[in-house]
Symmetry: C2
Subunit: 408 residues, 2 copies
């Protein structure tokens, strides 16, 4: 099928602008060694492969910027104006190599261990499917989406805006499962999920295991999902079963989930203890720094990108509020000097979904800096600037996320 929007690549995509960008997947001293052990292939500019790796071969190649074999983002021009991101355009970010496809051969047989509840139990997907079901639309976004805009050269994948999408997840509410097992044990403060990836030899498991803790409050919205966009959850995106925490950054949505524990403390796995922590540039990660949990309010323009026509144009974008619904989004064509309200486009899929927006603008020949600014129902608006931090997480500043468009 043809895609709706012509993909424009150019100066508005910082990942392509900076030939010297760092493409390391891990920021620590042993990064290159670990990258090698995990079998990842970081790519320099111009090295993008023509085809996608096997596990992602079903994706729309033309919609994706391939940063490495395990990290691919959606082109800004391929995000579209839809309320749901078609699966074949959704970004990929894996912390470990994708498990063998044999784990999706008999989906209903996959089991997950539930611990830290009154009656701990191992449940198969077949069991879970009889317990309850819900469908929730929520934005999946990497913590480092927007990292490419940080001038200090934050290490990690140089995501622009495309490490995000809005997905329909179907599965059983975690709360339903936990209540059936008697509820969390006394003193539980966190939900700790462990991925089912095989851990590579030669590395301390704690340094590579995908194990994330989120606060117990997430239980009200979390689900164990077996479908994505009304299709059996692809292996590529964590199938057969994924922990989905609506409104939380991507890393908390643990793929191929094998264990869920209600715990008093957060896990001491590196990805939790020192990874995905907000700290000043130059600082090491530590458990007392803020963890990447609830997402902040954010938006960006998706069209036009480089050129617009003389006359009336439709300016499109997407906006979301993390765990909070949006109250509105404004657009400026003069780099933030003046703003007008944009209109949301299409049905509202709920507080965790993104909302495409549109605003008509008359543009005469010249250059325009088009930016957008979303506000959530609690009154939080996107800031103008960045909050510089070592790993380039959580960037929602409206200025960097704008596009410069020429009308001739």
């Amino acid at each position: 099928m043809e895609r709706s929007t012509q993909i424009q690549r150019g100066p508005n995509d910082p990942g392509l602008q900076n030939p010297g960008r760092r493409t390391l997947l891990l920021g620590s001293a042993g990064a290159m060694a670990a990258v090698s052990l995990l079998g990842f292939t970081p790519l320099a500019r111009g090295e993008e492969p023509k085809s996608l790796p096997d596990y992602a071969a079903w994706k729309d190649r033309s919609a994706l910027i391939v940063h490495s074999t395990n990290t691919m983002e959606t082109h800004r021009g391929a995000i579209g104006q839809g309320v749901v991101t078609p699966s074949d355009r959704l970004f990929i970010r894996n912390n470990l190599p994708t498990p063998d496809k044999s784990i999706v051969a008999d989906r209903d047989a996959w089991d997950v261990n539930i611990e830290g509840v009154k009656t701990p139990k191992k449940l198969t997907i077949g069991d879970l499917k009889t317990m309850g079901v819900t469908t929730v639309a929520s934005v999946l976004q990497c913590s480092g989406n927007g990292r490419a805009f940080f001038p200090h050269g934050a290490s990690g994948t140089q995501w622009s805006v495309g490490a995000a999408g809005c997905v329909l997840w179907t599965g059983v509410p975690l709360k339903t499962v936990v209540e059936a097992l008697g509820g969390p044990v006394d003193g539980a403060r966190y939900i700790t999920s462990t991925g089912g990836e095989a851990l590579p030899d030669g590395l301390d498991p704690k340094t590579v295991v995908v194990e994330r803790s989120v606060p117990l409050r997430a239980m009200d919205s979390a689900l164990l999902a077996w479908e994505m966009n009304d299709t059996a959850l692809p292996l590529t995106h964590g199938g057969p079963l994924r922990m989905v925490v609506p409104g939380y950054y991507g890393v908390n949505n643990v793929k191929y989930v094998k264990n869920i524990a209600f715990t008093e403390n957060q896990t001491d796995a590196k990805i939790q203890a020192s990874g995905y922590r907000i700290r000043d540039v130059g600082q090491k990660g530590a458990p007392d720094q803020p963890s990447m949990w609830e997402m902040n309010v954010k938006s960006w323009v998706t069209a036009p990108l480089e050129t617009a026509q003389n006359g009336r144009n439709m300016i499109y974008g997407v906006a979301f509020g993390g765990t909070k619904a949006l109250s509105g989004v404004e657009v400026s064509t003069d780099g933030g000097k003046t703003w007008k309200s944009a209109r949301f486009l299409g049905p509202d899929l709920g507080p965790y979904a993104w909302r495409p927006f549109v605003m008509a603008a008359e543009l005469s020949p010249g250059e325009y800096r088009i930016v957008s600014r979303a506000t959530d129902v609690e009154g939080n608006s996107q800031p103008e600037g960045r909050k510089d931090n070592e790993r380039g997480y959580g960037h929602n500043g409206w200025s960097d996320h704008g596009v410069t468009v020429t009308v001739s």
Copy 2:
């Protein structure tokens, strides 16, 4: 990608149950001649091709029952539980051969003529895209969906339940276009849309042209759509531009639309004058019979289909109210003797969308007749029986649409 549900084919699919079913595409006396001239290939049972015709090759073959090269329905077991039907599983029903793909080579250059307005004008898709935009979820359903359940052997494609899907359409509201052109001329009572297919030689154009009139009231919701499910409208489904009339039967959603006229009378094209008319069995079609416009309230079960497990099962289905939102849907596991309310699943995409539903049921060994009954906000419920009519249109009786399931 793997699909979520295993496709079950069997006794609940009448199209497969009746080896003698009629597979003619046109019901008139000259049907076979016309079929030949149009290049269609009706298929008898067991003749389904392994692959799909070129224009539909991107579809998920395993999700479709192929009735002919121009008519394919979604397996009941592939409908899924989603709020939107993935495009590659959506049914196909074309009245004429699909135009050459050259018409989607430069989509924005496609033009449509707007007549019967104060300032008639030819507008390109490029023009339309600057005028306005909306995204609407609506059910696309063939008038003959459910035809296979009529015992009199209504001629036409023997659709079971799968000539329907819920689609996100993006385009400009027709009202916006018409208002920009000064509004409809005085006395206009119908909106008449003409498809851009090349008409075959050797047939009177009026007998084959796809030209449909809908009442002027449809202007409040109609749109000229260039996207489907956030992807440029595939040629297969009427791209580059389709008239979409939310809540109306499929035939009114004219593909490759080239002309829209606000008219005092309905078109005298055969597809309007005598086609798609409700009349008694044995009667010929005529303009004074009800036309297939607004859809009626309807639902059906999508899972389980043939077997269920001993114990707790989730019963799934889809329900919609045509142009009216739903107030609820009930499910019976004893063929309609007793009913329980089912729960809607997932976000509500608006009054024209379908709503997946789910109900948990404890089933012990035995045979169950599972049926569903939807009610719209105006209190219209599905009837139990059929309203027999010559061409087998508009069947929404709950009894025929049920499934028989064995628990062992």
